[in-house]
Amino acid sequence: MSQFEPKIVAFFCNWCTYGAADLAGVSRLDYPPNFRVVRLPCTGRLNPKYILEAFKLGADGVWVSGCHPGDCHYISGNYYARRKFVLLHHMLEAIGLEPGRLNFSWISSAEATKFQEVAKDVVEKVRACGPNINFRKAELELGLSEVA
C-alpha cells in the first residue's frame, strides 16, 4: 500500500525562508515535493485567515516560515506575526487540530540545511496526521457527490 501523500500549503516570507528555499535549490538539497509555496513579503502579511482557508479547502497541513525574530526585513513584522501565531496555534490545537498539522519555523536565508530538515520534518508530521477530514469544508463536496 502506498503511503499517504499529504498536500501542504506553505507560506514563506520573501526575505528569509523563501531565500533559504532558493538556497536549498542552489545547493541541491532535496526534500519531499508535498508542499506548495505562497510567497509573502513578510510573515507579518500572513492573515490567520489564510491558514484556516487552506485547511477549509482541504490542505492536509500548513507550514509558515519567516525570518528569525529580530531579522525581519521590515524591522518588526515578524514580531507582530509571532503574537498572532501564538494565539492561532494555541487556539487551533485547543479545539482539536492535530499537533503537527500546523507548523511554524524561523529559517534565515542562509539556513538551507535547516530548510531541508524542517521541510522533511513538516511533511512527516503532516503525513502522520493523515488526511485532513475535520477541518475541511464538506457542504460543497456533499453536493458534488450527487452529480459526480
Binding site: 498536500k7 500549503v9 520573501n14 526575505w15 528569509c16 523563501y18 531565500g19 528555499a21 532558493d22 538556497l23 536549498a24 535549490g25 542552489v26 545547493s27 541541491r28 538539497l29 532535496d30 526534500y31 515535493p33 506548495r36 509555496v37 505562497v38 510567497r39 509573502l40 513579503p41 513578510c42 507579518g44 502579511r45 500572513l46 492573515n47 490567520p48 485567515k49 489564510y50 482557508e53 487552506a54 479547502l57 482541504g58 490542505a59 525570518c67 528569525h68 529580530g70 531579522d71 525581519c72 526585513h73 521590515y74 524591522i75 518588526s76 513584522g77 507582530y80 506575526a81 498572532k84 534565515s108 536565508s109 542562509a110 539556513e111 538551507a112 540545511t113 535547516k114
Partner: protein, 1003 residues
C-alpha cells in the same frame, strides 16, 4: 597642473559592506559610481559571517538585499576581478587606471546553473570557508554572490594551466565559458576616490604558543564562524576538524595578534574580537544540542558599543565562563584537545583542558593595502592603518581620497557603515556642481491602459537549459497552462532570461495583447526585476507580473522524482496564473521634496551635518535649545589624538556662521511637527515654522551627576567634564596637585544602566598622560573594571602605563570606598592581584560619570521615532542602518544615538548628511507600487494598523476619521493588512483575493 574640471563620478574601491554603503549613498545622491572589487563578487568579510552581534542577526540575510541593490543599481558600475593600478590628477578630476582581470566566463551568458562546477575535476581549498573544505576551480564565490556569475580560478584550472580538460566549456548549457579572455587596462575619470580595502584576519600560523599550525582543533575565530555558518563546511554543526566529534568544551583565546607588541607587533586593540567571541560562544552553545562548556580567556572585555554590555551579561547568564587571563601556553593533548596554561587573576598558575580552542585573531592591514597607501601617497600610522584626524575622520592625507571601514582602524560593522556614508558625503563635497551629470535614467514607454480588459495571461515556461527541463516535463506544463482560465498564450523557452527571449516577450505582449505575464523559471528574488523591466519595455505596467519558481523550488530539489516535480510545476504555474489574473496595474506617484533639512541640536554632530549638507548645496535650519552652539564639546579639553577641541569648535562655529545655507535658531525647541519625508513642517517654540524635506536629530546627551564617591559633597571629587574645564582653564590648583585618582564606570555598567559609556576609558588615560607629561612626579591612579581603550587608543593606555600611571582593577561587588577626613580624601580600593587594600589620598578624584541620554520622549513622539530602553534614539537597523530611523526622512547623529568619541561623532554627522542627501537630491520622490491602501468604507478607525506599522506610515485622517497610508513611508510589509479585523487595509500586489486564489490553486 590644476584644472577646474569636476567629474560627477566616484570610484569606490572594495566591495565589502563599507564600500557598498558608500557606493549606494553616492549613486542615490546623483553620482555615477565605479565599484571596484578585487575578487569575483562583492560582499566582503561580512558575507562570511554567520551572525552579527549584538542582535544575532543573520549576516547573509541582512546584507543580501544590499548586495542585490548594488548589483542592480543603474548608476553603479560593478568592476569585479579588478585592481587599481594608479591614481593621477587631483580632487575633482582624477584618472584612475585599473586592470580588469579575466573571469573566463562570459557574464552576459552565465546563468549560474552550476553545471560547470559539477563537472570540474579540480578541487581547491575553499577560501570562502577559510579553507575548511574544498571548492572547484570553476566556482561561484558563495551561493548568494553578486554578481551571481561563475568564474575560473586561473591558477588551478587545468585548461588554463596545462591546456587540457575543458569539461566546463563542454557542459555549459549557455556557452558562457571562454578560455580566451584577457586582462585589460582601462582608465576611469572620477571626481573622488573612496578606499575601502578592508582587512585580513591576523594569521596565527607563526605563533607557536597557540599550536594553530599543527593542531586542527585550534582554529581561528573566522574559521569557527564558518563552522557555525549554515552554509559552512559542516552546515552549522559544531564539530572538531580532527575527528568530526562534537566538542564538549571550547576555549576562546582573546587578543591573538592584538594588544601584543612582543610577537605580533600589533599594539592596537582590534575592537571587535571580544564581541565576536561572545557571539560565537553564544551561537555555539545554541547550536549544540547538549551542554557545551565555553570559556573565554580575556584581558579586558571590551563591550563598549550599543547594547554590547547587555549582550555580555546575557552570555554570562547563558553559562559562558569568562576568565581574566592571557594564555601563555597551549599544550596539545592525546585526544586532539588542548591543555591551556595560564596565570589567574590572583597570580596563581593554572591549567585547564578543552576539546577545542578558538583564537580571537585581530584585524590587520594587508601588505597589498599598505603598498597601495604608499603608491597613492597616503599617510599611514605605525600599524599601517590610514591616517585621519578626529575632525575629518574619513579624509586621507591626499585631498580627494577618502576612506571607510577598517582601513583607518579596527572597527565593527555599524561604525564601518557610518564611515562609509560619511565618506560618501565627504567624497562628494567638492563634486556638487557635477551632480547628475554622469548618472543614467531609465526611459520606459508610458504603459498602455488595460482597464476594462479581461485578463489575457501569457505564460512562459523556462527550460533553463537542462536545469529545469532535465527534470520537469516542460511541454506538459505548457499544455496544462493553456487550459488554465484567462491564459491566452503559453510557450516554453530555452532561457527565459536571455536577451533574445526578452525581445520575444516584448513582441508577444504587443502582438497578442497580453496583459498579465507569468514566467515559470527561477527565483523572483533574483529575476523578478528583470522581467518587470521587460514588461515595462513592452508598455505593460510592470506589476502585472508573477513568477513560479520551478527551478530552485522544484527541479533542483526534486530531481529524483520527475513526475512529482512536473506535477508541482503545474501547480505552481496554476498558482501564479490564478494570482496573475487578479493583478491590477499599480501606479507610482511622485511627490515634491523640500530640498532642505532641519537639524535638531547645535553641537558638533548637528553643525557637521549642516555643513556637510551645505557642501552639497542644501539649506538647513539648526535648532539649538541653549543660547549658544557647540553643545557638550564646549566643556572638553582635547581629543585622544591631542587635538584641542576649543580651537576646532571656534572654526566650526565660524564656518557655520559664514555659511549662507545654514540658519541657526538659538534658544528654541520643536513645538509641533506635521508632514513626512519630503514635506515636513516643524513649528519651533519661537513660533517659526520650518518646511523641510528631512530631519536630523542630534540632540546629544548628558554627563550624569554621580550619587556616590562623595560627589557633590567634597570639592575634590569632580566629574570628567568638570575636570576638563579645570584643565581648559589652566587651573592652578590642578597644576600644583601631586596625586590624582580616576574611578571608571561611575554609573555605567550597573544593573540600572547596563551599558558602557564608551569614551571614559580613553578620556581617562588621555587625561592621565596629560597630567604625567605636565608633571612627571604626579602620582596618577586609575581604578577601573575593564580598560576599554579600543582600536589604536590602546597606544595611549600603553603610554600611560609607560609613564607610570598606576592601574588598579576593581570588581562591581567591591567598589572603591571614598571617605573624607577633614582635608584628606581617602580612596580605599582592593587590588585583586596583590589581594591587598590600597589607600590613595588624591588631591583630585575624577569620576568617569556615565553619559546618559536626554530621554527625548516628546521629540520622539512628535517625529514618530523610537527610543530604546536607555533613552537612546533607536536606529532602523543596528548593523546596517546606524544613522537612519525606520521612519523615512529621519536621521540621527552624535551621542543622542549612543556615547561615542569626537571622530565617530563627526563621521556619524557626515553620514547622516549623506543619507539625507539621498532623499534631498531628487526634487521629486517616486512613491507607490507595492504599498498598502485602505478601503475606508471598511475602516472602523480602531487604530490597529497605525499601532503595528513598523514605519509609522499609517495615520488616522482627522477629518474622515479613517486610516490613511502615506505611500511615501510604506514599505509594503503588509502587517496592517493582516492585523485589521475588517480587512480595510490591503497590500497591493499581495491582496487577499490574489493570495486566496493562490491557496485555492495550490490544492
Amino acid at each position: 597642473m590644476a584644472s577646474n574640471k569636476v567629474v560627477g563620478a566616484v570610484l569606490v574601491a572594495g566591495g565589502g559592506v563599507a564600500g557598498m554603503q558608500a557606493a549606494l549613498d553616492l549613486a542615490n545622491a546623483g553620482y555615477y559610481v565605479y565599484m571596484v572589487e578585487k575578487s569575483m563578487a562583492i560582499g566582503g568579510r561580512m558575507s562570511q559571517l554567520d551572525k552579527t552581534f549584538p542582535t544575532n542577526d543573520c549576516s547573509m540575510c541582512i546584507i543580501s538585499p544590499k548586495l542585490v541593490e548594488v548589483g542592480r543599481h543603474i548608476n553603479i558600475e560593478l568592476l569585479t576581478l579588478t585592481d587599481i593600478l594608479d591614481i593621477q590628477g587631483q580632487e575633482g578630476d582624477f584618472q584612475v587606471k585599473v586592470r580588469r582581470n579575466p573571469r573566463y566566463i562570459d557574464m552576459s551568458k552565465c546563468i549560474a546553473c552550476g553545471e560547470c562546477t559539477k563537472k570540474c575535476p579540480v578541487k581547491v581549498d575553499n577560501d570562502y570557508n577559510e579553507s575548511l573544505d574544498k571548492r572547484k576551480a570553476v566556482y561561484v564565490q558563495y551561493a548568494q554572490a553578486v554578481p551571481l556569475k561563475f568564474g575560473i580560478d586561473a591558477q588551478k584550472c587545468l585548461m588554463l594551466t596545462k591546456g587540457k580538460c575543458g569539461s566546463c566549456q563542454k557542459v555549459c548549457p549557455a556557452k558562457a565559458v571562454d578560455y580566451e579572455q584577457k586582462a585589460e587596462e582601462i582608465t576611469l575619470g572620477v571626481g573622488a576616490v573612496i578606499l575601502a580595502p578592508g582587512f585580513t584576519p591576523y594569521k596565527p600560523k607563526d605563533f607557536e604558543t597557540y599550536r594553530y599550525a599543527d593542531n586542527p582543533n585550534v582554529m581561528t575565530a573566522l574559521e569557527f564562524e564558518r563552522l557555525l555558518g549554515a552554509t559552512g563546511p559542516s552546515m552549522g554543526h559544531v564539530v572538531r576538524s580532527s575527528d568530526h566529534k562534537e566538542p564538549e568544551s571550547i576555549a576562546f583565546l582573546q587578543c591573538v595578534g592584538s594588544r601584543d607588541v612582543n610577537r605580533a607587533d600589533n599594539g592596537y586593540c582590534s575592537s571587535v574580537c571580544c564581541m565576536y567571541a561572545i557571539k560565537e560562544a553564544i551561537i555555539a552553545k545554541e547550536h549544540a544540542k547538549y551542554d557545551l562548556k565555553v570559556t573565554v580567556f580575556y584581558m579586558d572585555i571590551r563591550s563598549f558599543g550599543k547594547d554590547f554590555e547587555r549582550y555580555y551579561e546575557k552570555a554570562k547568564e547563558k553559562g559562558i565562563n569568562f576568565v581574566r587571563s592571557r594564555i601563555h601556553t597551549v599544550q596539545p593533548k592525546q585526544d586532539g584537545g588542548v591543555r591551556l596554561h595560564y596565570v589567574t587573576d590572583h597570580g596563581q598558575s593554572a591549567t585547564q583542558d578543552f576539546d577545542m580552542a578558538v583564537l580571537s585573531h585581530g584585524l590587520v592591514i594587508t601588505g597589498e593595502t599598505l603598498d597601495m597607501s604608499y603608491k597613492f601617497g597616503l599617510k599611514t600610522d605605525q600599524y599601517h592603518f590610514a591616517q585621519t584626524t578626529s575632525f575629518a575622520p574619513v579624509a586621507l592625507s591626499r585631498p580627494g581620497i577618502y576612506a571607510c571601514g577598517v582601513y583607518t582602524g579596527p572597527k565593527d560593522i555599524p561604525s564601518s557603515v557610518m564611515e562609509a556614508s560619511a565618506a560618501a558625503a565627504a567624497a562628494s563635497s567638492k563634486l556638487a556642481s557635477a551632480r547628475g551629470t554622469l548618472t543614467k535614467v531609465v526611459n520606459v514607454p508610458a504603459p498602455v491602459d488595460i482597464s476594462g480588459e479581461p485578463p489575457r495571461v501569457g505564460v512562459f515556461i523556462c527550460h533553463c537549459g537542462i536545469n529545469i527541463a532535465g527534470v520537469i516535463d516542460v511541454p506538459k506544463v505548457v499544455e496544462f497552462a493553456k487550459t488554465l482560465p484567462f491564459v491566452e498564450y503559453a510557450s516554453n523557452t530555452m532561457f527565459a532570461c536571455s536577451q533574445d527571449n526578452q525581445e520575444q516577450m516584448v513582441r508577444l505582449i504587443k502582438e497578442k495583447r497580453l496583459n498579465r505575464i507569468v514566467v515559470s523559471a527561477c527565483s523572483p528574488r533574483t529575476h523578478e526585476p528583470l522581467f518587470m523591466e521587460t514588461l515595462a519595455a513592452a508598455g505593460l505596467n510592470k506589476y502585472l507580473f508573477e513568477m513560479a519558481n520551478i527551478r530552485n523550488h522544484d527541479s533542483w530539489v526534486h530531481a529524483a522524482d520527475p513526475a512529482e516535480a512536473t506535477r508541482k510545476a503545474m501547480d505552481m504555474t496554476e498558482m501564479a496564473v490564478a494570482k496573475a489574473a487578479l493583478l491590477v496595474p499599480l501606479t507610482e506617484n511622485v511627490i515634491d521634496v523640500a530640498p532642505s533639512a532641519l537639524v535638531i541640536g547645535g553641537g558638533v554632530a548637528g553643525l557637521n551635518t549642516a555643513l556637510t549638507l551645505s557642501d552639497q548645496g542644501f539649506k538647513s535650519v539648526v535648532v539649538e535649545k541653549d543660547a549658544h552652539l557647540g553643545g557638550i564639546a564646549n566643556r572638553i579639553h582635547s581629543t585622544a589624538k591631542n587635538e584641542v577641541v576649543a580651537d576646532y569648535l571656534e572654526q566650526l562655529k565660524a564656518k557655520v556662521e559664514a555659511d549662507q545655507n545654514i540658519s541657526v535658531v538659538l534658544g528654541a525647541e520643536v513645538e509641533k511637527v506635521e508632514g513626512f519625508v519630503g514635506n515636513f513642517e516643524t513649528t519651533l517654540t519661537t513660533g517659526e515654522a520650518v518646511k523641510h524635506g528631512v530631519t536630523i536629530i542630534a540632540t546629544g546627551a548628558k554627563e550624569s551627576k554621580p550619587t556616590e564617591y562623595l560627589y557633590g559633597q567634597n570639592p575634590k571629587v569632580v566629574t570628567h567634564l568638570e575636570f576638563d574645564e579645570k584643565i581648559k582653564a589652566k587651573d592652578e590648583a590642578v597644576a600644583a596637585a601631586g596625586t590624582f585618582a580616576f574611578i571608571q564606570c561611575v554609573g555605567s555598567r550597573e544593573p540600572e544602566r547596563m551599558y558602557c559609556s564608551k569614551v571614559c576609558c580613553t578620556h581617562t588615560v588621555h587625561t592621565a598622560v596629560h597630567l604625567k607629561k605636565n608633571n612627571p612626579e604626579a602620582r596618577v591612579f586609575v581604578l577601573y573594571r575593564d580598560m576599554r581603550t579600543y582600536a589604536q587608543k590602546e597606544d595611549i593606555y600603553k603610554e600611560a602605563r609607560d609613564l607610570g600611571v598606576i592601574f588598579i582593577r576593581y570588581e562591581l561587588e567591591s567598589k572603591p570606598k571614598v571617605t573624607a577626613a577633614g582635608e584628606v580624601l581617602n580612596v580605599l580600593v582592593h587590588d585583586p592581584v596583590s589581594g591587598r587594600d590600597i589607600l590613595i589620598n588624591p588631591d583630585y578624584l575624577v569620576l568617569a560619570a556615565a553619559i546618559v541620554s536626554g530621554r527625548e520622549h516628546e521629540l520622539a513622539m512628535k517625529y514618530k521615532v523610537p527610543l530604546d530602553g536607555d533613552g537612546w534614539f533607536f536606529e532602523a537597523h543596528q548593523k546596517l542602518r546606524p544613522v537612519d530611523f525606520a521612519t523615512d526622512g529621519m536621521f540621527m547623529a552624535g551621542i543622542c544615538h549612543y556615547p561615542k568619541p569626537m571622530d565617530e561623532v563627526v563621521a556619524q554627522a557626515q553620514a547622516a548628511a549623506a543619507r539625507a542627501v539621498t532623499v534631498l537630491t531628487q526634487p521629486r520622490m517616486t512613491v507607490g507600487g507595492i504599498v498598502a491602501e485602505i478601503n475606508q468604507a471598511k475602516c472602523s478607525s480602531c487604530g490597529v494598523c497605525v499601532a503595528v506599522c513598523p514605519f509609522s506610515a499609517i495615520g488616522i485622517d482627522p477629518e474622515k476619521g479613517k486610516a490613511v497610508v502615506n505611500e511615501a513611508m510604506c514599505k509594503g510589509c503588509g502587517v496592517c493588512a493582516s492585523s485589521c479585523r475588517s480587512d480595510a487595509p490591503s497590500l497591493r500586489g499581495f491582496t487577499n483575493a490574489g493570495l486566496f486564489a493562490q491557496i485555492a490553486a495550490a490544492l
